[in-house]
C-alpha cells in the first residue's frame, strides 16, 4: 500500500466505524452494551434453558467456555459477510471515483472485526470477574490466532466481494451458509458430542482448530504453538493470496457489471 492508499484506508475505516453509531442517541455506548447483552442472552438460553454443560474434563463454567470461542467466530463471519457486500453497496462510489477498490472491502471488513475485538476484550474482562480465571499472560498467543483469523477473513471477503459483482445470488446464499458453518463448528458444543460419522469432518473445518486453540490458550494456558499453527498459517495465507489475486483480476471490470 502506498502513502495515499494508507491515508484513504484510515479515512474509510474511521467512516465505517462511526457510521455504526451515527444517529443513535447514546452512540458509542452501544459498542460496550451490545456484547454484554449478547453474552447475557447466551448465558440465559444455554446456561438456564438448555442447561448446557462443558465436557467434564475441563471443569469450566459454560458461559466462559462458549464466549471465548463465540467472539472470534462473530468477528470472522460478520467481517466476511460485510466485506463481501462492500463493492455492490458502494457501487455509486466505484462508478465515479478512481480508487483502489480493495480498500472498500478491507476497510469495511476490518471495521467489523475491530468492533468485535473490542467486545471480545470486554467479554473476557467480565468472564474474569464473574466466572473463571483467564490466562492473560497467554494473550500474545491468542492474538496470533486472531491475526490468522483476520487474514482468513480478509482473503474470503476479497474473494466473495469480487465474485458477488458477477454472481448476485451469493448475497442470499452466504448468510445461510455461514449459519450452517456456525453449527458445524464446535462453538456451542464440544467436538466429542457429535455422532460418530460427523466428528471426522470437524478436522476439515479450519474454524474447529481456531475454536479449540483459543480455548486452550485463554482458559487452560496452553499457548505453545504446534504443527497446527503452521498449517493454519499456510492455509490462511493461501486464501488471502487467492482472494487478492481474484479481486485484482476482476476489479477493472467491476463498473461494467455493477
Amino acid at each position: 500500500m502506498n502513502h495515499h492508499n494508507r491515508v484513504l484506508f484510515r479515512q474509510l475505516l474511521a467512516r465505517e466505524i462511526s457510521s455504526r453509531f451515527i444517529g443513535s442517541a447514546t452512540g458509542w455506548l452501544w459498542l460496550f452494551v451490545t456484547p454484554l447483552l449478547l453474552l447475557g442472552v447466551y448465558a440465559f438460553v444455554f446456561g438456564v434453558i438448555f442447561r448446557a454443560r462443558v465436557p467434564e474434563e475441563f471443569e469450566l463454567p459454560f458461559v466462559a467456555w462458549l464466549a471465548v470461542a463465540l467472539w472470534p467466530w462473530l468477528a470472522f463471519s460478520e467481517s466476511v459477510l460485510r466485506g463481501s457486500q462492500a463493492i455492490v453497496s458502494n457501487a455509486a462510489l466505484v462508478g465515479k471515483v478512481a480508487i483502489s477498490r480493495e480498500l472498500l472491502v478491507l476497510s469495511s471488513a476490518t471495521s467489523v472485526f475491530l468492533l468485535q475485538m473490542v467486545g471480545y476484550l470486554l467479554v473476557l474482562l467480565v468472564i474474569q470477574f464473574l466466572a473463571t480465571d483467564v490466562y492473560w499472560w497467554a494473550l500474545p498467543a491468542a492474538i496470533w490466532v486472531l491475526v490468522l483469523v483476520f487474514a482468513l477473513a480478509m482473503g474470503l471477503a476479497l474473494l466473495l466481494a469480487a465474485v458477488q459483482v458477477f454472481v448476485r445470488d451469493l448475497e442470499h446464499f452466504l448468510p445461510t451458509f455461514f449459519l450452517l458453518w456456525f453449527f458445524m463448528t464446535p462453538i456451542l458444543y464440544a467436538p466429542a458430542m457429535l455422532p460418530e460419522p460427523l466428528d471426522a469432518y470437524l478436522a476439515w473445518n479450519p474454524f474447529t482448530w481456531v475454536v479449540n486453540r483459543i480455548r486452550d490458550i485463554l482458559l487452560l494456558g496452553e499457548w505453545i504453538p504446534g504443527r497446527g499453527d503452521l498449517m493454519m498459517l499456510a492455509g490462511c495465507l493461501g486464501v488471502l493470496l487467492l482472494g487478492w489475486w481474484v479481486f485484482r483480476r476482476l476489479s477493472p471490470h467491476f463498473e461494467d457489471f455493477l
Binding site: H4, Q11, I22, K96, V97, P252, E255
Partner: protein, 403 residues
C-alpha cells in the same frame, strides 16, 4: 514537444451483456481465465487522443456519442476493452456532483473524505480547509448533513475540494451547469487561473461558448468515433453546423424544392469554391451565380437570401426591389450574378437560398439552396459583426475640444 499527460491509442470500449445472470456468469469465468470477455455492445472505437501538459481539450458530441464513457475510462473508473491508455501525474475527476458524498454525514466530514479520495493527506486538508470553505461559500451549512443540501450546494463543495487539490489533469463532466450564475463564473475564473498556471483540462460540455472560452482543442465524438479533432473553433463550428443542419432537416422534412413548373431556378453556383465546397473567411466576397428558367420568356424576378444552417434568416434581397433586371441569356433563360463583398457574418454554417418569382414579383415559384461555411476564430455572439470601436470614457470629448 513535452511528454503527454494522457495518451490514448486505438482505444475501444465494449459494454458486456449484463442483463441475464447466465451471461454474467459466463463473462465472470472468461474474465477469470482469459482476462477478457466476449460479446457486448460497442460504444467507443479507435479513439486516439493526446493531452499534453498545459493543454485544454473539450470533448463534444451528441447525447449517447460516448463522451461519458470516454471520461470514465480516462478517469480510471472503467477499463478499456481494446487499445492502450498511458497516463502520468495526478488526475482528479468531477464526473458527477458529490460523487462519493455520503448523505448521512455533514458537509465537513464529506469534505475530508472527498479530499482523501482525491489524494490529499489529513494535514494537507487541514492546511487548505479555510480555502476550501471559502471557495464553497456555503456558510454554516457545512455542519449540516449533506442530505439537506441543495444540488447547487453539493456541487459547490465538490468543486471546492477539487480546486484545493489542483491536480495535474482535471477531468470534468457536465457538472458546472448546476451551480448558480455567480458560482459558475467563480468556477470559470478558477479554471482560467488554473490553465494560466499550467494546469491541464479535459472537459465534456454542451455549452459551446464555455468550450470556446476555456479550451484550445476540441474533439468531436460521433457514434463512438472521433469525427473531427483539432483547433477548438474549427471543431465546434463544424459541430454546430452539423447540428443546425440536422435540426433544419428534422423540421422541414423532405419538402425542399417546391417547383410548380412555371418560373424555376435553373442553376445556382456559389463561390469562390474549391472541390465543390464553398468555404470563406470572414470579410471575403461571396458570389452567387443564378440562372432562372422562364416558360413564357418573360423576365422573372430573382431573390437571394442567406440563412444560418438552422434556418434562421440573416439577410435577403430581391432583384425587383433593387431595380435590377435579369440578363436574357437565351430562349427562356435569364441570369444574374450577385456579389456580397466583405461579408461580415460570423463563422459557422450557412445556406444561400435562391428564389424564382413571377415577373410581377408576387408569387414565389421555386426555391433552391446551396451550402457554404464561414471559417475563422471568433468569440463574438450573434449572426453578424457590427462595426464597433472600444474607447476609454471621455476620449471623444477630448478629441472634440482639441486644438
Amino acid at each position: 514537444m513535452s511528454v503527454p499527460l494522457l495518451k490514448l491509442e486505438g482505444l475501444g470500449k465494449t459494454y458486456p451483456d449484463t442483463a441475464r445472470a447466465g451471461r454474467r456468469f459466463r463473462s465472470f469465468l472468461q474474465l477469470l481465465t482469459r482476462g477478457a470477455s466476449a460479446g457486448g455492445t460497442r460504444v467507443l472505437s479507435d479513439i486516439d487522443l493526446e493531452v499534453r501538459p498545459g493543454e485544454s481539450v473539450a470533448v463534444i458530441g451528441e447525447n449517447g456519442a460516448g463522451k461519458s464513457t470516454l471520461l470514465k475510462i480516462v478517469t480510471g473508473v472503467l477499463s478499456p476493452t481494446t487499445g492502450v491508455m498511458e497516463s502520468r501525474g495526478t488526475r482528479a475527476a468531477l464526473l458527477e456532483l458529490g460523487a462519493g458524498f455520503d448523505p448521512e454525514y455533514s458537509g465537513l466530514e464529506n469534505l475530508r473524505m472527498n479530499a482523501a479520495l482525491l489524494g490529499l493527506s489529513r494535514s494537507e486538508v487541514e492546511a487548505s480547509l479555510e480555502e476550501i470553505l471559502d471557495f464553497a461559500d456555503i456558510g454554516n451549512s457545512i455542519h449540516e448533513p449533506v442530505k439537506h443540501y441543495s444540488s447547487g450546494m453539493v456541487v459547490r463543495l465538490g468543486f471546492a475540494v477539487v480546486a484545493a487539490v489542483r491536480p495535474d489533469l482535471l477531468i470534468t463532466d457536465e457538472v458546472l451547469a448546476v451551480g448558480d450564475e455567480s458560482f459558475q463564473k467563480k468556477c470559470i475564473r478558477w479554471m482560467e487561473g488554473y490553465l494560466d498556471q499550467g494546469g491541464t483540462l479535459l472537459m465534456v460540455s454542451h455549452n459551446i461558448y464555455q468550450v470556446q472560452k476555456l479550451c484550445r482543442y476540441a474533439c468531436w465524438l460521433h457514434e463512438g468515433r472521433i469525427r473531427r479533432s483539432g483547433d477548438v473553433f474549427e471543431v465546434t463550428q463544424a459541430y454546430l453546423a452539423w447540428h443546425e443542419r440536422k435540426d433544419a432537416r428534422d423540421r422541414s422534412g423532405t419538402s425542399r424544392r417546391g417547383g410548380h413548373g412555371n418560373y424555376r431556378v435553373g442553376s445556382i453556383e456559389i463561390g469562390p469554391s474549391r472541390d465543390g465546397v464553398t468555404s470563406l473567411a470572414m470579410g471575403d466576397e461571396l458570389i452567387v451565380d443564378l440562372e432562372l428558367e422562364s416558360p413564357d420568356d418573360r423576365r422573372p424576378v430573382a431573390a437571394v437570401g442567406i440563412v444560418r444552417a438552422d434556418g434562421s434568416p440573416v439577410y435577403g434581397v430581391a432583384s425587383d426591389s433593387d431595380r435590377f433586371e435579369l440578363e436574357r441569356l437565351g430562349e427562356k433563360r435569364f441570369g444574374c450574378r450577385l456579389r456580397f463583398p466583405g461579408l461580415r457574418i460570423l463563422p459557422g454554417g450557412y445556406h444561400v437560398r435562391a428564389h424564382a418569382f413571377d415577373p410581377e414579383g408576387l408569387r414565389l415559384q421555386d426555391t433552391v439552396e446551396e451550402e457554404f461555411s464561414i471559417s475563422g476564430e471568433s468569440r463574438e455572439l450573434g449572426l453578424v459583426r457590427l462595426e464597433h470601436r472600444w474607447e476609454a470614457p471621455g476620449e471623444a470629448e477630448i478629441a472634440d475640444t482639441g486644438p
